[in-house]
């Protein structure tokens, strides 16, 4: 029996109209519409496109929850084996809608899904871990190739053929690692890679480093004598006994500690729980990592206005970037609310 596929497309590709129709709420029709027609012809006898769900890009973006709920319901009604959305190319709202409906259908209906986008589409970063996003060109000029790649991945998924690496299959990495036995050992592969690098040849890393964002530097403090300054540290300095059970490595939390009545960190009140460096010196004098003593002295001398009453600490070793970013955002919100003017952050 042929497998059942549902397609999701926007108002434009459904032929309803352009921007002036972007507000239309979800609707569905049996069989194919727009690019779904081509998908059906590429799938051949492999599968039948049993229905197409259509939604205006602005509607989906502005009524995320309603649109998602309505579309999931319509898609579920067709009892599909696979959802194919887009391709969205570099259209931001469409990409987010395609990613969101794919992630939702896979998440709530346990039906596999795939879509197609250009690498800079914001939908890629948001949804690539949750669905298959095939790499496409940046505009509909690449429609033919996009539909061919998406259909070929669709067939593999429908036939339950184990997928190879994202790079080989042509979709954006989903952050999934699979173990396998390589013909050559790691040492030889590493040296081969190094030789290629030295020779200026192309090589493919087996362990991609995360790409960090850069931000524009904040404006400087104008009047230090009136400034409130906060201390933050990823050096694992916590009140003795680690009351918040912050992990010694791969931390998923941070602590907020009142230091308003303290002038000095000593082995009696604070300690280091950091699992990534030799803690002998930090335990002997925690000020060598979290410099409360000298900050307090300078505050008393009037070098700056005030030391903020709380310190924020965590252990920065093996900490996931996503967690570290969240800590930063939460701490930033609090400092902003409390009118703090600058931060000194120490790391080990």
């Amino acid at each position: 029996m042929a497998k059942r596929v549902v397609c999701y497309i926007n108002q434009f590709f459904a032929g309803l109209g352009g921007e002036e129709q972007a507000h239309v709420p979800p609707s569905s029709r049996p069989g194919v519409a727009g690019p779904a027609m081509q998908i059906q012809s590429l799938l051949g006898e492999e599968a039948v496109v049993v229905g197409t769900v259509i939604c205006g890009d602005s509607y989906y973006g502005e009524h995320l929850e309603e649109a998602r709920e309505q579309c999931v319901r319509m898609i579920a009604g067709f009892k599909p084996d696979l959802l194919v959305a887009g391709p969205a190319f570099n259209a931001g709202r469409y990409g987010v809608a395609c990613g969101d409906i794919c992630a939702s259908v896979t998440g709530s209906l346990c039906i596999p899904s795939l879509t197609g986008m250009y690498r800079e589409n914001p939908g890629v970063e948001l949804y690539s871990p949750k669905t298959y996003i095939v790499k496409t060109a940046d505009s509909a000029r690449g429609m033919k190739d996009a539909l061919a790649a998406m259909s070929s991945l669709a067939v593999k998924i429908l036939r339950d053929i184990p997928l190879g690496a994202a790079m080989d299959e042509g979709y954006f990495p989903r952050g999934i690692r699979k173990n396998f036995f390589h013909k050559t050992n790691g040492a030889k592969r590493a040296v081969d890679m190094l030789l290629k690098k030295i020779a200026g040849e192309q090589f493919i890393t087996e362990y991609e480093m995360p790409v960090f964002k850069k931000i524009t530097p904040a404006a400087p403090v104008k009047d230090l004598s009136k400034a409130t300054i906060a201390l933050v540290s990823s050096g694992g300095i916590v009140p003795k006994g680690n009351p918040d059970h912050i992990r010694v490595s791969s931390a998923e939390s941070y602590g907020v500690y009142d230091i308003s009545s303290l002038d000095d960190l000593t082995p009696d009140n604070f300690e280091s729980i950091h699992g990534g460096y030799d803690r002998v010196w930090a335990n002997d004098d925690p000020d060598t990592v979290l410099p409360l003593d000298v900050m307090r002295e300078m505050e008393k001398e009037g070098v700056f206005g005030k030391l903020y009453d709380q310190v924020f600490t965590t252990t920065g070793t093996g900490t996931a970037v996503a967690h570290a970013e969240r800590f930063g955002q939460e701490i930033g919100e609090k400092l902003k609310k409390d009118g703090v003017d600058a931060v000194i952050l120490t790391s080990t």
């Binding site: 960090f212 964002k213 400087p220 803690r279 002997d284 060598t288 410099p291 955002q329 000194i344 120490t346």
Partner: protein
């Protein structure tokens, strides 16, 4: 963490740590190189007074950093 605090609060954050390339990579804008990984803001080998003097110098430098207008990531070495 350093980048997101600065981004969210909109205030200057100066990072003091020892491995400068990591601070550059994670996006710290104001950077003060520390003494050593296990004691970035102190030098216990110089005795109690010396240790504190080192800390004071680094923190004064950090305070200068947060008062300095910058356009890009900057390492404050003195």
């Amino acid at each position: 963490m350093v980048r997101e605090i600065e981004n969210t609060a909109g205030i200057p954050v100066v990072q003091i740590a020892t491995i400068v390339p990591i601070m550059l990579t994670v996006g710290a804008n104001r950077i003060v190189p520390g003494v050593a990984i296990p004691h970035p803001v102190g030098d216990p080998s110089r005795g109690e007074e010396g240790d504190k003097a080192v800390r004071r110098e680094l923190l004064e430098r950090a305070l200068r950093a947060i008062q300095t207008p910058i356009e890009e990531q900057t390492i404050f070495t003195s």
